[in-house]
Amino acid sequence: MIVSNSRKLPAKKTSTFNPSSFSLSLFFHSLQPSWTWKITPHLTHTLTFSLTYRSNAANTPDIFFNENEWQIGGREELKLKISQNFTLLMGTDAHEILYTGAARVPFFLPYPQFPSPQQPFPPLRDLKGQESVLDWGVYVEGDYRWQKLRLIPGLRLEEITYAGRMHQSLQPRFTARYDLNSHIALKAATGIYQKYPPLQNIALTIGNPDLGLENAWQTSVGFEWQITQALSLDTTGFYNYLWDQSSPSTATRLIGKTLQPLYFENNQRGRIVGLEVWLRHHPYKNFFGWIAYTLSRSERINPTTPTWFLFSQDQTHILTLIASYIFPYNIQLGARFRVVSGNPTTPIRGAVYDSDTGSYLPLNGAVRSARLPLFHQLDLRIDKFWVFNRWRFSLYLDIQNVYNQKNPEFITQSYDFSQSQYFTGLPILPVIGIGGEF
């Protein structure tokens, strides 16, 4: 039996990993013009175009990771009011996503040979890849009203092509709403959602192009309460079940007479349960704001793990307070305050010196059984608007992390895991910007 990897590994560069300097950058640009044409009183046509560019990069003097994604798409939708009680919505949309990724990371791909040669530090390898996704779908949605009851069944058919393979998807959805009185409405929704796996799990040298779609069944129940003309309360309990989620794998598969590492498999399941409470003050007398709170628990399980463990970004409590007031002379002052549970971490209870490599192996505690400290941050923003006939110009000062809170993002460890330190997020960051709305 021979182990094979059809994608040839690039030449290695031997260097040591130096975590002392680290930088991160995130870019996001989006353009989304929309045109609505009311053809008849009963028929409305909407055309939406979207163009998005996203870029993420992380760099140290020796290693880096960067990825760029262009997404171009369009949606055409027809809304036909068939009767007083029934409206039909039909549409089609298409998106083309172009992804490129490159990385130089310490990575040791073990040879099939035993014993697998080892080095004190894994050699740096250049990984790169590109992938395109064509996502085309049609959908239909009925909106039926009968007295206080509103039922919205829907169905989406989708064809998603990536890594040269076409994947079909059928996603039924259903929403119901019942008005108890003029102030309170009950609501419930359920549906199947499918999406393509993260493209870096497919595209890079150590990705798996045969990954299938990731699935989720989402369901929610709740109520909306219009307390006053300006104040409303929206409460939703939700439960999501995920399956076929892609996750790293050490499995191999036999192709002919060769054994090929998979790197990633659709072998992870997940469950998320929670409650959202949203108290909103709608724009009224120059003020708007809200208090949003989410209580949730997100867990995952793999075939290799005996029990459910917390998702890496599980956040038990998320509290967001937003307030904004428009003063005379078109001056607007806004504030945002966030309190979020720290992400789960796996505690390290010691280390073993590995004499084969001259490095230390951590002795991990229970998977994700500890957490980073609480995240909290206050942001302030002041805008000045100049309103013209057809457009609006604005100048703003945005101050992120006003009281310079050092929020831990992750933990860095010393060579023998005897010392640790938090890697903290951005310090106070004032940004001056301009904007235009047409």
């Binding site: 039996m1 021979i2 182990v3 094979s4 990897n5 059809s6 040839k8 590994l9 031997t14 040591t16 975590p19 002392s20 300097s21 680290f22 930088s23 991160l24 950058s25 995130l26 870019f27 760099n59 791909l109 040879y111 099939p112 040979q113 035993f114 014993p115 040669p117 080892q118 080095q119 004190p120 530090f121 050490t250 060769t258 590492p261 010691g350 280390a351 073993v352 010196y353 590995d354 004499s355 084969d356 490599t357 001259g358 192996l361 002795l363 050092k406 860095t412 010393s414 060579y415 023998d416 005897s418 010392q419 330190q421 890697f423 903290t424 997020g425 951005l426 310090p427 960051l429 940004v431």
Partner: protein, 289 residues
Amino acid sequence: MRFCLLLICFAAYSCSPSFANPYEVKDLRVVAMIAEPPEAAPGDSVTMTVYYADPGNSGTRIVDSRFGTCHNEDPNEDCVPNLETILSDHAAVTTRIDDILTDTYRYVVPNNIFDGASLIEQFYGVYADVFVHANNSIRTIDALKRVVVTPAKVQPKNKNPRLLGFDILYQDIKIGDETFLPALNRATAYTLKPRYDASSLEAYQIIDYNQQVHILKEEPSFIWSCSEHCTLDRNTSYNNETITLTPPLTENTDNALTVHVVMRDGRGGEAFVAARVVLLPEVKVSATQ
């Protein structure tokens, strides 16, 4: 774009860990753990030698060490030292040369080590993890060495490389080696160069992921460390690369430091050399009135 640059600057600014240097030995540490031979067959006897550095131990402190093993572990899981798997037949008495303590243990590879192993493992081999659990009454440490166990028919088996020592150079001129080192100036950069028997690096055959058979030769790597307050420009070197040692200007009151170097062949083979370096006394200048 400007915003992004700001992000990069601030993120870089916000992260500057100040951890201990991996090369600076401040307390009890396993600096090497050598299996002789590194590759064996079931039933073979393997001598495990552990080298500890125990700074501040003038000979009165005992290092208590015990050995344990893990067999047929999941290849994706490392052997975790566990008091329940510590072998009861060995409580070591260490021997001491300068500040290096050594301890040996005779490990016999079980004849049934391939029981329960997969077909691939029975064909290629398995690791027998041997670990040591040591305590000097101040600190407890664990170290792990994997003995490569291949079927008896697999020949030749890997051997340990031969590390002869290291040369010390000042301004590219050799001034000594591990057997004879002159007293070194403080706060002065010296170059260390490993000396090894190149013929002890073996050739071996490997099949890569493209089904190509390659004849490779072991590439030596060296991990360097030294006693407290010394400075090395890095702790890892490859082949004939050199490293730079700078003795401390003031701190060492005993006017000496120890340099350790471990050579690895990348396939489990290992060799170790340590040498004590005498430093010239610290010159103290005092102002007179």
